[in-house]
Symmetry: C2
Subunit: 378 residues, 2 copies
């Protein structure tokens, strides 16, 4: 007999273990508080005002988002201190100006060109952070490009509406680490580089600048967050197969899973086909020695999730199909029509695709993408 | 001065060149008609009733979809003959029964287990197709599993509510081909296998069964569609970078592109950062000798798209960022705030993520995923 929450399910559905998420959250809040570091969590992971409220209940009153749309969504629910951690999009100046009048808004800049346009478009003050690249090489000014950074700082000081809040980095290079020791070393090295920039600017007369950092692997694993003012991790609230694979969390810490109906079984290949494809799970793989893994498998039972050994995994995804490879033992236990749960490789993306959460208690939690699932996926 | 349609754009937006799509459509309709093959196009590519109407205007009155939700969406717009080309999901029996009373519904089966449950759940007739695997090894009974297929046929004939329409395959192995000659050979071999199954069933007394096939590479490239009754390609209406890379279409045949604002430039790496990431473009790569390519770059000009050489491409995607590698020449022409267009690797997926289309004439075309974009992405 299926447990109650599964009986409701018809289509691929995002399950949320609320207790696990709250436990992960509590640990991160405590760590930041104990070390007197401002906690500005990244909300692109959950994209939900209801889950945002859990943060508020624990005393968190500022947030990070990845788009102007997301900032608007959270501002609408009373969040008054938001940083958009994405290079300022000059085509959204109207929305940025409106937001800046309503809340304490932070934006990212990395060029004099963008900074000048931003300044002249604004009619109110906005906090700007200089994006610094400490090794990821995605965006930002290189940490050791002293002239570039100094020129940008001087330009911001000359501006009418921009207030320099500090320097900000995302040390996402930790995601490419091979060991937890390497994660800790990369996080620490990134911090050293950020402090070097701050000290240099201090020496040049630009003092009092904050340092903002924050990737989940580093912030979760490092006992000492370092001499930074602010951390911005997001993924830690749910974790995922990638974080487990990196050694950042344990499988039992992962708070989300995508529940997928089994629609076919192929005994000769020990594969089952699930209704759950790239548009539900997102097509991102963990590359192991012999296979690409698009998610690990768990079975929801009365007592909670039973995590199958890693030999059971999603091996391929097309638009709506997933192929799951199973051991003989697990294959035999599964029937067509059953629900199996996939711990996704990257939870932020699966959440974005699926839009709504169903808690293990059977409650629906909405996100900013809810409209889509309301019409189609339930 | 930017051309009018681009002036409207703030965020990643799906552009549609309506003329190209209609031209691709016209060619496929004519080919099927000339060869007296039923054309049951796959609508998972466009997911839009308005674009569905273009098919109707050319005399197409039946369709293929990939989910019950999608069947409901098109049935709601008057489509009366729809096949759900996905193994029947036993958890959606209520919706399937309702649909089967309203329209001429086709579903896929591949096991006696599912067939029996389907039959007892129904209270009206439904057409079933047996899914046959001619080499893709995703779903279906192997084409040479004669006993398995025969047993399933007999079981369907004994059923109360199931009418066996025929045998159906998706020869998606053509997507893995290295040359167009190989695509043609794979398509033809798949058809030979399907005809072998039909002849065998005919010999066993089950005559008059239709053969349904249909992948874009095979259906587009093969001059002779073969002795099949029905084709179900979908992607051909838009095409994408993957189809161009396979040699199926030319770049100028690709009818969709994702318009993305440029938010940063990094001259030392000749890279620009676009607002356009995995949640907009979908993270699927073409693996070339030296790089993973997540899309090719085009610039929309007054006279139409200018396609940049393939040395200009999307090299990485995170949630909302894309990294675009450019030649020095193209890098110098692009400013922060400009819009560049990405020809996506897999158009079906990018369409699913972005929800709405903006035609080059500035008209919005909705899809079944429109709600999401209405609230967030515009």
């Amino acid at each position: 007999m299926e447990i109650p929450v599964l009986q409701k399910l018809r289509r691929p559905t995002l399950l949320l273990d609320e207790n696990k998420a709250r436990k992960n959250l509590k640990r991160m809040v405590k760590k930041a508080k104990d070390q007197s570091v401002r906690f500005r969590p990244h909300f692109k992971t959950h994209q939900s005002t209801e889950i945002g409220q859990w943060f508020r209940d624990m005393g968190v009153d500022c947030a990070t988002v990845s788009s102007v749309s997301m900032a608007n969504y959270f501002a609408g629910e009373g969040w008054k201190d938001i940083t958009i951690a994405f290079p300022i999009n000059l085509r959204e100046m109207d929305a940025v100006c409106e937001l800046a009048r309503e809340i304490n808004l932070g934006v990212l800049v990395e060029s004099i060109y963008s900074t000048n346009i931003l300044d002249s478009a604004l009619n109110t003050k906005v906090n700007v952070w200089i994006k610094v690249d400490t090794g990821l090489h995605r965006t930002g000014l290189y940490w050791n490009d002293r002239n570039g950074i100094l020129n940008l700082v001087r330009n911001i000081y000359k501006s009418k509406n921009l207030k320099l809040a500090g320097i900000l980095t995302h040390a996402g290079q930790t995601y490419g680490a091979k060991t937890t020791e390497e994660i800790i070393a990369l996080y620490s090295r990134s911090n050293v580089r950020m402090l070097d920039v701050r000290n240099y600017l201090d020496f040049k007369g630009y003092s009092g600048l904050d340092v903002s950092v924050g990737d989940t692997p580093g912030c979760w694993l490092c006992a000492d967050l370092g001499e930074v003012d602010e951390i911005r991790p997001g993924n830690f609230i749910f974790f995922d197969a990638m974080m487990e694979d990196l050694g950042v969390c344990r499988r039992e810490d992962i708070a989300v899973a995508v529940a997928c109906p089994v629609v076919a079984k192929h005994e000769d290949r020990l594969e089952v086909i699930i209704y759950g494809g790239g548009i539900h799970l997102f097509k991102q793989a963990i590359h192991t020695l012999s296979e690409d893994v698009y998610g690990y498998i768990s079975i929801l039972e009365t007592v909670g999730f039973r995590h199958l050994p890693k030999k059971n995994f999603v091996s391929a995804l097309s638009q709506e199909h997933g192929i799951v490879k199973l051991t003989r033992e697990e294959f035999n236990k599964i029937c067509i029509g059953d629900i199996i749960c996939v711990q996704p490789v990257h939870s932020c993306l699966a959440v974005d695709l699926l839009g709504d959460y169903l808690t293990l208690g059977g409650r629906i939690i909405h996100s900013m993408n809810s409209e889509r699932i309301k019409n189609l996926r339930w």
